[in-house]
């Protein structure tokens, strides 16, 4: 069986005027189903860039990027939108909840693109909020929730579509230790008990310690892999 994420000879450059700014160079990486991978490395090493490529938010300059056997580098804009909606869960450093929507409505957002009934949507949203322990906060707006609670709502939003892969860019970067631990414990539970595959960018060794595998990036290259 193929790996969930298969990256080979991946290259990504930005252009500043005429000059090419290489960010990722000749990168190979495999992530198996059910893994929890932590992506570490100094600031500017290209972690977010790599995560965005895996997420289908950005297009590689060169190389192959296969997810669940599909070459996503060649998908059209519209197909990518659809693919992200179906296959990827996102957790951001600053939660990125919609402030005017309640916790329930925030979790519901990705499902609005699905051809399912309101009842089915409600069922899924409620279940996801229950998993993150916020069933009693459904009507709260993000502004009425703590940072940790907001991040748990965001995790519920990432889970509600039952994605192939959850991508988290510094999910604990904005949380205090206690809230960070709660969020990490939740992600680990979802990985161990729920079998969800996670790729998490982090600067925090304590967070990385929760992962099954740590991948290090330096100046756009993988330097080593530690189990």
């Amino acid at each position: 069986m193929t790996a969930l994420v298969e990256i080979s000879s991946l290259r990504k450059s930005y252009w500043r005027g005429q000059s090419e700014v290489p960010v990722l160079a000749d990168l190979d990486l495999r992530v198996e189903r059910g893994e929890f991978v932590a992506l570490m490395g100094p600031s500017g090493s290209g972690k977010s860039t790599l995560l965005n490529l895996i997420a289908g938010l950005d297009q590689p300059t060169e190389g192959s990027l296969r997810i669940a056997g599909h070459e996503i580098g060649s998908l059209s804009d519209r197909a990518l939108d659809r693919w992200r909606n179906r296959s990827i869960g996102f957790v951001f450093q600053f939660y990125n909840l919609v402030p005017v929507l309640s916790a329930f409505e925030n979790v519901e957002v990705p499902l609005l693109l699905w051809p399912i009934s309101r009842e089915e949507r409600t069922g899924r949203v409620t279940a996801a909020l229950r998993v993150v322990g916020l069933a009693d906060r459904m009507e709260h707006r993000p502004g009425e929730l703590s940072g940790g609670e907001q991040q748990r709502v965001a995790i519920a939003r990432a889970l509600v579509t039952d994605p192939l892969l959850v991508l988290a860019d510094e999910p604990t970067g904005d949380l205090d230790e206690r809230n960070a631990d709660e969020v990490l414990a939740l992600m680990r539970l979802l990985n161990r008990a729920g079998g969800k595959t996670f790729v998490m960018v982090t600067h925090d060794p304590r967070a990385a310690a929760q992962a099954g595998r740590i991948v290090r990036l330096e100046k756009g290259r993988l330097v080593d892999e530690a189990a």
Binding site: D81, R84, N85, L113, R157
Partner: protein, 387 residues
């Protein structure tokens, strides 16, 4: 899928969330719509008076070449010729139905405000004989009696209202003296209701003038009015122009179309201002929500969806502003006004309200277009990096 739009609640709550900028834009839209509707309603009010004025059996006899009563002068010898022109209708006592009239526009004040000397109303004064009430169908006294001596006048219902409820026993001042109101008359909403009627002889004395302005006469056989009109115009005994009375007033009402055009122009210009306000506010909304747009894109919403969401907000504010605007405009329905000596009531027609609402929606749509395009063009990665 991918076509799906964000729920209405999303647009609605975002509009509510940015209270100040929403309120400012809403007000701009409302004012544009209100001004537009009020100006069109002014034109409609004038036109209604004009088209309802005149009796289809009557003709207005003016001196040759005169475009209006103001520039028309019929010398006394021509009057019996006109009054006894063959084919004229007669009343029960055999008298010809002919209203000999002298028109003059005078600045008029209520007596209690006369001292200030300013703010007189340019008011048509019509010197008439009792026949006027027979010839101008629908005109009749609703209070008081006819004038008997110099210094006694009648006021039309709209003018009385316009003067703040002047009635029998009150006095007004024009042509350098005080006149006592002895009666108030109605005329089925015709132009006469914004006039002062006095005895013809009194007005002639007052103006020191023997000529009259016009004679309005009734045809005995309305079926042959065109031939009769022609016969009178070509008469060798008097040199006159003869116009059908309804046409004569309808022409006066055409001037009101200028108001409608002015309404369109002012509505358009204010609308441009409101578009600028709306665009500004929507751009501000976007710049505060770039990361949110990036997030929605990441979650699977297409470029069109996030653009449409922003456009919906702009249109929503437009629609709300439009509703407020037409609500404000409705307060002016029936409002008594006087322009260039013509008193009339603003007439807010449903079609004007519809146009006002369409203007508001257009403002919302146009004001939201560029910000929506900017939102749709965002690159997700850049948007997510946005502070």
């Amino acid at each position: 899928m991918a076509r799906a739009t964000l729920p209405f609640a999303y647009a609605w709550r975002n509009v509510l969330a940015r209270k100040l900028s929403t309120a400012v834009t809403l007000l701009c839209v409302a004012v544009s719509v209100m001004v537009y509707v009020v100006m069109v309603s002014t034109a409609d009010g004038i036109e209604r008076v004009a088209v309802s004025s005149g009796d289809p059996r009557n003709v207005v006899v003016l001196s040759t070449g005169a475009n209006s009563a103001e520039s028309s002068r019929l010398p006394p010898p021509s009057i019996p010729v006109i009054r006894h022109f063959p084919g004229i209708a007669r009343d029960n006592s055999g008298e010809p139905l002919a209203s000999v009239e002298l028109l003059s526009a005078q600045e008029l004040w209520r007596v209690d405000e006369a001292e200030s000397g300013e703010g007189g109303r340019f008011t048509p004064i019509r010197g008439v004989t009792p026949s006027a009430f027979q010839v101008h169908t629908g005109s009749h006294l609703v209070a008081g009696r006819l004038p008997r001596e110099p210094g006694e006048i009648l006021v039309g219902r709209l003018l009385a209202r316009e003067l703040g409820g002047v009635g029998v026993g009150d006095s007004v001042r024009f042509a350098g003296r005080v006149h006592r109101v002895v009666g108030v008359f109605e005329a089925r909403g015709q132009i006469f209701e914004s006039e002062v009627w006095v005895e013809l002889a009194s007005l002639q004395t007052m103006l020191d003038q023997r000529d009259v302005s016009q004679v309005v006469i009734r045809a005995a056989d309305p079926g042959r009015l065109p031939e009769w009109q022609e016969a009178l115009s070509e008469s060798r005994r008097v040199r006159v122009d003869v116009r059908l009375e309804p046409d004569y007033y309808a022409d006066m009402g055409r001037g009101s179309r200028a108001f409608a055009y002015l309404g369109n122009l002012v509505g358009f210009l204010l609308g441009l201002g409101a578009i600028a306000a709306g665009m500004n506010s929507t751009y501000a909304a976007l710049s505060g929500r770039v990361r949110e747009m990036g997030t929605l894109r990441a979650l699977g919403f297409g470029r069109g969806s996030v653009g449409a969401a922003l456009l919906a907000e702009s249109c929503l504010i437009g629609a709300l502003g439009g509703l407020l605007g037409i609500l404000l405009a409705l307060f002016f329905d029936g409002f008594a006004m006087s322009l260039m000596g013509l008193a009339f009531e603003l007439q807010v027609r449903p079609s004007s309200l519809g146009e006002g609402l369409a203007l508001a929606l257009a403002i919302g749509l146009v004001g939201g277009l560029l910000p929506a395009r900017s939102a749709a063009r965002l690159e997700i990665v850049d948007a997510l990096r946005h502070a």
